[in-house]
């Protein structure tokens, strides 16, 4: 017995404990090299002044003081504008969830050619964001754009066009972003609706539930996983809104459509940029905003797991 025990190799003896780690190892390695380390580097760079070429100069928290206006300086105006625009994106982008749900409910029926209708609704999510941006910027053109013509019927004119007016430009871009994002949420809800238990619907119907009550008390609770995922992807989509802004307004007019991710790119990597330290400081601030949401998502996922056990 004891000889058989010692004959087994060290790996065999510890197989149960080690195998999971072996499987995790490649992922952990890549995660460390491509995610954890760059985050650490960004923090490090944000305490320096660096043009990306020469030597870094240690400036302590000067970049953050300038960004947030600590001490005798004003808060960085571009940062302030970007921050509020990010909030607008976060709040308004969430409209994609109810809109997606509504379209999903509408399309969740069996009529002739429903697959075609579904794919047409899904179409905006398939095309590139750059194309979406271009299409919408033509749509919004002053004088010739379809949108301007349509608002003209109601006697509304937006000075300089939607994207040329600093009060409307950000909302115009968000509306463009909602088009593909709604399609994405719709797909999530369509798959969710497939999993709705028909027996529960039947039972609810026998109890006299219908219309809004049926939706609110029977259907929606069963769609909770789909809602959670839709919420996650929409929040993340709102925070990384970059391509649409770059294509449609390039941060303008007069810098009124910048968001943090665009400002970060502009400071550190654009043609007139290469102020790596300051760009990194913006990245760190954006990181903490995202971290808030990520912690919430992880926490609620953890709660669900606990409940399931």
């Amino acid at each position: 017995m004891s000889s058989a025990e010692t004959n087994r190799s060290w790996y065999k003896r510890n197989e149960i404990a080690i195998t999971p780690w072996l499987f995790l190892l490649p992922a952990m390695l890549f995660f460390a090299v491509y995610v954890i380390m760059p985050i650490g580097q960004s923090f490090w760079i944000s305490f320096h002044e660096w043009d990306g070429l020469g030597d870094k100069t240690w400036v302590g928290t000067a970049n953050y003081e300038r960004l947030l206006g600590i001490g005798d300086q004003n808060i960085d105006r571009k940062f302030e504008v970007s921050f509020w625009n990010n909030l607008r994106w976060l709040v308004l982008y969430l409209l994609a969830i109810p809109a997606g749900l509504f379209i999903a409910l509408f399309l969740n029926q069996t009529v002739f050619g429903i697959r075609l209708y579904k794919s047409l609704f899904f179409f905006p999510f398939v095309i590139s964001q750059v194309v979406v941006g271009l299409v919408f910027s033509w749509f919004y053109l002053p004088n010739d754009g379809l949108f301007d013509v349509m608002t003209g019927w109601f006697g509304i004119t937006i000075t300089d066009g939607v994207l040329g007016n600093r009060n409307t430009a950000t909302y115009g871009i968000i509306a463009a972003g909602l088009w593909p994002q709604t399609a994405y949420c719709m797909i999530l809800y369509l798959t969710g609706l497939n999993a709705v238990d028909p027996e529960q619907v039947e039972a609810a119907r026998l109890d006299g539930a219908k219309g809004r009550k049926m939706l609110w008390y029977v259907i929606l609770p069963q769609l909770k996983p789909a809602t959670f995922i839709a919420f996650v992807v929409t929040i993340i989509g709102a925070l990384r809104s970059f391509d649409l802004i770059s294509v449609m307004t390039n941060g303008g007019p007069f810098g009124s459509t910048r968001v943090l991710s665009f400002y970060m790119f502009e400071e550190s990597l654009s043609e007139f940029g290469f102020r790596m330290g300051y760009g990194a400081a913006i990245a760190v601030v954006l990181f903490f905003i995202m971290l808030g949401f990520i912690v919430y998502f992880l926490w609620s996922m953890y709660q669900d797991e606990k409940g399931a056990r």
Partner: protein, 429 residues
């Protein structure tokens, strides 16, 4: 007259190229004790990626290779826009010998980081006197860091047929300019088209109005951060600019358009003129304007006490400080700056721009001829490289955004100037 001019130029071309050959022979033999010609590899990275410039660059390399059969020239062409950020990596590890870039402050990061080689010794050679007009733009810290191969003039391109129709002539003073503009506006034609979506076009207007109002030296001092943005002289510039804005001289909603998207206003006669670089001529001709309809005038005088200063952005070649084959690289720089080569590459069938070498001849094109004449005889104030090349990168980006805002909301001027001044103090003090 014309023939004599030609003979003269041909003569000087022969003379300079002979001189260049002799000079090349001398340096080559002093560099190599055994006296044999250039050999090894010469690595060039170029940003001349558009079709016509690309052909020019490939032609240059082929000709240079033919002159030095033992030299192996490797050419890499990178997309022009991409190169603006890629140059940093390219110059870092394992750098090429020769690269393309731009003059003036745009060289600053690479000079400060020691990535461009000091080529003051080349500029000390007698042939380089023909390039004196751009020596200032190639100089940082009293040393020269590259050589120019082409530049182009800026100025007002206008619809001659519209001017004729309303009995207008090319304005030379600000009063004539405003009067012309009023006539056009009375006939519901906008004076100027412009697209400020990508901001830099507004920089051209500032360059001109500021240098015409306060002179070249003041403009350069402002670019160097030596003058406050809230200075009364700067305010005078904006006050002059505002005269045009308040008249409604510029097309509406220009912040929605790129410079190309603003072209149709001029092509279909809704606007009469465009302050632009000479590269716009090709687009205007493609858009259907004939040379009878299209003409050019120099930006008018505002303050009679200051000389004309002109925007003429210069494109350049540089040697990397890590170059492996410095002798071949220097020889290539001598080659591209020679009068003969500059004449050839700037011709109408090639780059269609202006040669920098004073002994080169220009192509038979009315805009190139007017531009060459203007820059050689009527730009005594100085040559500006353009707002985004003269000002430091950060000042330029904040500045151009402010200029765009001013063009739409001139009442915001105080806020804009305070913002620019805050930026200037942070960068330069």
């Amino acid at each position: 007259m014309k023939e004599a001019y030609w003979e003269d130029t041909m003569h000087s071309i022969l003379k300079t190229s002979l001189a260049a050959l002799v000079a090349a022979g001398v340096t080559a033999s002093s560099a190599f004790a055994d006296g044999h010609a250039l050999s090894g590899d010469l690595k060039i990275i170029s940003d001349m990626s558009n079709p016509a410039p690309r052909a020019v660059m490939e032609g240059l390399v082929a000709d240079f290779g033919a002159l030095h059969p033992e030299l192996n020239v490797e050419l890499t062409i990178v997309d022009r826009e991409a190169w603006k950020t890629q140059i940093r990596n390219a110059l870092g590890a394992n750098p090429p010998d020769v690269v393309n870039w731009y003059a003036a402050n745009r060289m600053r990061p690479y000079v400060d980081a020691g990535l461009f080689a000091d080529i003051s010794d080349l500029w000390a050679e007698p042939e380089f006197e023909a390039l004196a007009s751009t020596k200032g733009a190639m100089t940082l810290d009293d040393k020269q860091w590259g050589v120019p191969y082409t530049y182009y003039q800026w100025g007002v391109y206008y619809r001659k047929d519209l001017f004729d129709q309303y009995g207008l002539s090319e304005p030379t003073t600000w009063e004539e300019e405003l009067a012309n503009c009023q006539t056009l506006l009375d006939n519901s034609v906008k004076c100027y088209t412009i697209g400020t979506k990508f901001l830099w076009t507004a920089g051209g207007w500032f360059d001109y109005i500021n240098s015409r109002t306060n002179g070249y030296d003041f403009h350069v001092a402002l670019a160097r951060g030596e003058v406050e943005w809230t200075d009364d002289r700067v305010r005078q510039t904006f006050a002059n600019w505002r005269q045009l804005i308040d008249m409604g001289a510029f097309i509406d909603s220009h912040q929605n358009y790129s410079w190309q998207e603003a072209l149709p206003f001029m092509l279909n006669g809704e606007a009469a003129a465009y302050l632009m670089g000479n590269f716009a001529v090709a687009a205007m001709r493609d858009g259907g304007l004939t040379d009878d309809q299209l003409d050019f005038y120099q930006f008018p005088v505002i303050n009679a006490d200051v000389d004309y200063a002109e925007d003429a952005p210069t494109d350049t070649f540089h040697i990397a400080s890590g170059a492996q084959n410095v002798d071949a690289a220097k020889e290539f720089l001598r080659f591209v700056t020679s009068a003969e080569v500059q004449t050839e590459i700037n011709g109408g069938d090639a780059l269609g721009q202006l040669p920098v070498n004073a002994n080169a001849s220009i192509d038979n094109d009315k805009f190139l001829e007017q531009g060459f004449d203007m820059l050689s005889n009527n730009a005594n104030g100085g040559i500006m490289q353009f707002f985004d090349r003269d000002f430091s990168a950060e000042m330029a980006s904040v500045g151009m955004e402010g200029l765009q805002q001013f063009m739409v909301f001139p009442d915001d001027l105080d806020e804009i100037l305070d913002r620019l001044e805050e930026t200037r103090q942070r960068i330069y003090e």
